[in-house]
């Protein structure tokens, strides 16, 4: 950052606000990114479970986890429950994907603005 002063670019209050916003959005981006990754693997696990249930030939139903214990449940209601879980997760996943896209666009436009003013004196990469 030494270059900033050498080239004598003063940081104005509005620049500070932009930098703050950038930093906030960056934090949000990382959070969303992590949440999306976990959700994707969750959905995959549910989908795998649906397949397993289909392939399972157990006559007395399937042991499903309820809290800390397992109880046997018939195949149809397991599939039904899993489908509901998948739908819920996919809905909130698409909401999060929309938000991360939005955050990304904002980050990019802030980046352009800040690099435009400070050039190499500022580093906005991770």
């Amino acid at each position: 950052m030494t270059d900033v002063e050498q080239k004598d670019i003063e940081v104005a209050r509005e620049d500070q606000e932009r930098i703050n916003k950038f930093s906030r959005l960056n934090m949000r981006f990382d959070e969303l990114d992590e949440e999306i990754t976990t959700m994707k693997s969750e959905i995959q696990a549910f989908k795998d479970a649906v397949e397993e249930v289909e392939g399972c030939m157990e006559a007395d139903g399937i042991l499903m986890k309820i809290g800390e214990a397992y109880t046997s449940v018939d195949e149809d209601s397991v599939t039904e429950k899993l489908t509901r879980l998948i739908d819920d997760s996919e809905a909130s996943l698409s909401k999060k994907s929309d938000e991360i896209e939005h955050v990304k666009t904002e980050l990019d436009s802030l980046k352009k603005l800040l690099y435009g003013k400070f050039g190499t004196s500022i580093n906005l990469e991770k």
Partner: protein, 186 residues
């Protein structure tokens, strides 16, 4: 030149902020700021402030992660009670495979029931009617979500203060470097 005067220039108390996070003041003019004092002194105070902010940040992060582990517990408890409600409607006995001890699982049969015992913490367990249990758990869930939301807002506010302070440090430090170079040249 007391530290208190300098402190007033770099942060101020914020109103309406529950956690009492002080607001970092953006230094409008570094030169002005360093007229009566050495840049190194200002940088030092700013760094103190910065480490305080970081301490707050780690405490907030810890609070948030404990809430984030608590929430799934509440949701899973709700699931169990919902399951009991279904069983009650069916009026059927069900068999459960449960963990008796590490590596030992056993089977138990439970008759449909009107009530459920909820673990309240602090070695305390209370019996509730099923619908009351659901209500209590729902309240707990929504409280946890509200707390999480306000925690996240505070964390975003704190993040702003940290960024502002970091930029203040860099600017003041650079000013100091420039001043020393000028003194050397002159």
């Amino acid at each position: 030149m007391g530290d208190a005067a300098l402190d007033q220039l770099i942060f101020k108390k914020t109103e309406g902020n529950k956690r009492g996070i002080p607001e970092a003041i953006f230094i409008e003019n570094v030169e002005e700021m360093c007229k009566e004092r050495e840049p190194t002194e200002v940088v030092g105070r700013l760094q103190d402030l910065h480490s305080k902010y970081q301490y707050m940040q780690s405490s907030l992060t810890a609070q948030r992660s404990s809430l984030k582990t608590k929430l799934p517990d509440i949701v899973s408890a709700l699931d169990v009670v919902q399951h009991l409600v279904e069983k009650k409607e069916e009026a059927a006995e069900s068999t459960y495979t449960y963990q008796l001890a590490e590596n030992i699982w056993s089977k138990a049969t439970a008759a449909p029931s009107d009530t459920v015992c909820l673990w309240l913490g602090a070695n305390c367990m209370l019996e509730y009617k099923l619908d009351e249990a659901i209500e209590l758990l729902r309240t707990n869930e929504s409280n946890a979500r509200t707390t999480l939301k306000s925690l996240e807002e505070d964390m975003a506010f704190l993040r702003d203060q940290i960024t502002t302070t970091e930029v203040n440090i860099a600017r003041t430090h650079n000013f100091g470097v420039k001043q020393r170079q000028a003194a050397k040249a002159g």
